[in-house]
């Protein structure tokens, strides 16, 4: 690329000004943990004091025991890996298809008129309603599950990419034209960087829906995976196992989302937005 340049740091305050306090990141973390942590401690104390037997809603200590048990015998890892594999495959397929079709629909109005009405029609079908058809077509094993997750990921990515391209500032595109950019060069040097922030949002929305659909997929007869663990806990009457699986979902969902956001952050440092001044999420 052209001139090598590291953008100057502007938001950093001098270290001396915040030395006596806790680091801002730690303070924010503690603040975020106050509510769930407080509720957990309160429930633990309530069960210990005999106010509830904790049968339907086990206290944190019992959930932790269940967690340890699952982790020790290797079940937790097995289920997590099964879920993550499905999720990764479905997310990859959904993202690739959504990105390509969204980009085509955004870039060419002919393509948009051709495919968008059909896709919007399909989008109106709640994705879980596809399950019976997918099982008939693709069998009850991995393929139908991955397909369902891919469908869930596809729509937010497709819509996000198309809308992002359609809303690129005409004036910026004109700068590209004035410098005689056409076709691929226009896409690479103007459109792609311009849609990147919206694209990251679309991917995160797709990821969120992907996690939703991975459970739906695992409810339809899986022998492993966190969704299977939920069903197993329900059928055997083990609420601690259900909550442990829920917690694993929460951790995985948050972790993958944070990874995605962190991977995108270096490419979005240029953004001049409200969130940048307030430290974002």
């Amino acid at each position: 690329m052209s001139v090598e340049a590291k953008p100057a740091q502007v938001h950093g305050r001098p270290a001396a000004a915040r030395a006596p306090q806790l680091p801002a990141a730690l303070r924010r973390l503690l603040l975020g943990l106050a509510l769930p942590g407080g509720l957990a401690i309160a429930w633990e104390l309530a069960v210990r004091a005999g106010l509830s037997d904790g049968r339907l809603m086990p206290p944190p200590s019992r959930i932790w025991q269940e967690f340890e048990e699952l982790a020790r015998n290797g079940d937790l890892l097995r289920h997590v890996i099964a879920t993550l594999e499905r999720m990764a495959a479905g997310f990859a397929f959904g993202t690739v298809a959504g990105t390509i079709l969204g980009a085509l629909a955004g870039y060419s109005s002919l393509t948009r008129r051709l495919i968008d009405p059909t896709l919007q029609g399909l989008r109106a079908v709640p994705s879980i309603a596809w399950i019976p058809l997918f099982i008939l077509w693709l069998g009850i094993f991995e393929t139908s599950k991955v397909a369902l997750i891919a469908v869930g990921v596809f729509f937010p990515v497709y819509l996000g990419v198309m809308a992002a391209i359609l809303s690129v500032d005409r004036k910026i595109v004109e700068v590209g034209r004035a410098f005689r950019l056409t076709g691929f060069a226009m896409v690479r040097r103007i459109l792609l960087p311009a849609v990147l922030p919206a694209y990251v949002v679309a991917l995160r929305a797709g990821l969120g829906l992907g996690w939703m659909f991975v459970i739906a997929a695992e409810f339809m007869g899986a022998s492993e995976g966190l969704g299977y663990l939920l069903i197993d806990g329900q059928q055997l009457g083990k609420p601690a196992e259900i909550v442990a699986a829920l917690l694993a979902f929460a951790v995985l969902g948050k972790l993958t989302d944070a990874l995605l956001a962190a991977a995108a952050a270096p490419f979005l440092r240029w953004e001049d937005v409200y969130g940048a001044q307030h430290g974002g999420a």
Binding site: S2, V3, A5, K6, P7, A8, K171, R177, F179, W270
Partner: protein, 262 residues
């Protein structure tokens, strides 16, 4: 030589934005185009830039017909239109992508130096003031060494002090390679500070109405009597173009006679 022959533009809705514009601009000449709003001055500039195509007539640069953006024609818009995802230096170097890196870097550095923003090379556009951003836009246009540079009300969004400052910057950078400048403006002072020739346009349909050769020595003193006189001639022509009875018409004419007499 930039030559417009009988250029006309009719929009799909039937509005005739330009009609029969014929104009020749010599290499190195600075022409300012002024006129009331909606007189087609921006349409004219866009036709010259190749961003829009005229419906009739043609725009030629050194004998070649301009139908799309041309490497010898640069443009500076009313807004800086910097690419927010590139640092200032890479914005300036945007049009030099095909050059070898050392040449690109040295030209970008030199151009940034010319507009006095060397220390801003590594910052994002969001950290610039309005005047700084427009200076970067000017640097971006000049760095490719165009033969013709078009400026579409480039300083109209800036305050008066910054505007005067940027006019000086523009003339300063122009003196390096002396490209042809065509500047659209609604600021008569600006037209006279910058231009060798001021062209007044008239609306509906947009066409060239009157031409005033400023004939002032550079650098121009905004306070001088000669400056003031040129300004009054342009203002009187503007009034006539808007079919308003010019109040000081007689006075202008007397002074015009006096000027010739001098």
């Amino acid at each position: 030589m930039l030559a417009l022959h009988n250029v006309g533009k009719t929009y799909p809705n039937g509005v005739r934005a330009l009609d029969g514009v014929t104009l020749e601009v010599a290499p190195g000449e600075i022409v300012a185009i002024v006129g009331g709003s909606g007189c087609g001055k921006s349409t004219l500039l866009r036709a010259v830039s190749g961003l829009d195509r005229p419906t009739t007539g043609s725009v030629m640069l050194d004998g070649a017909v301009i139908t799309r953006p041309h490497e010898k024609i640069g443009i500076v818009f009313q807004e800086p239109r910097l690419l927010p995802w590139l640092t200032v230096a890479r914005n300036v170097g945007f049009g030099l992508e095909d050059r070898p890196k050392p040449e690109r870097n040295s030209r970008v550095r030199a151009q940034l130096d010319r507009v006095g923003l060397t220390e801003k090379a590594t910052v994002w556009p969001r950290e610039l003031s309005g005047g700084q951003a427009q200076r970067v836009a000017i640097a971006r246009a000049f760095v490719t060494r165009p033969e013709v540079l078009l400026l579409d009300e480039p300083f109209s969004a800036l305050d008066a002090f910054t505007r005067a400052d940027l006019q000086d910057h523009l003339l300063d950078v122009w003196a390096d390679t002396e490209p042809t400048l065509v500047i659209v403006t609604h600021d008569v002072d600006e037209a006279i500070v910058l231009a060798d020739r001021v062209i007044v346009m008239r609306a509906r349909p947009g066409r060239l109405y009157e031409e005033i050769v400023t004939d002032l020595a550079r650098p121009r003193d905004r306070q001088s009597a000669a400056f003031d006189f040129a300004k009054r001639r342009v203002l009187a022509a503007l009034d006539r173009s808007l079919d308003r009875k010019a109040i000081d018409d007689g006075e202008t004419r007397t002074e015009a006679g006096a000027a010739m007499w001098w």
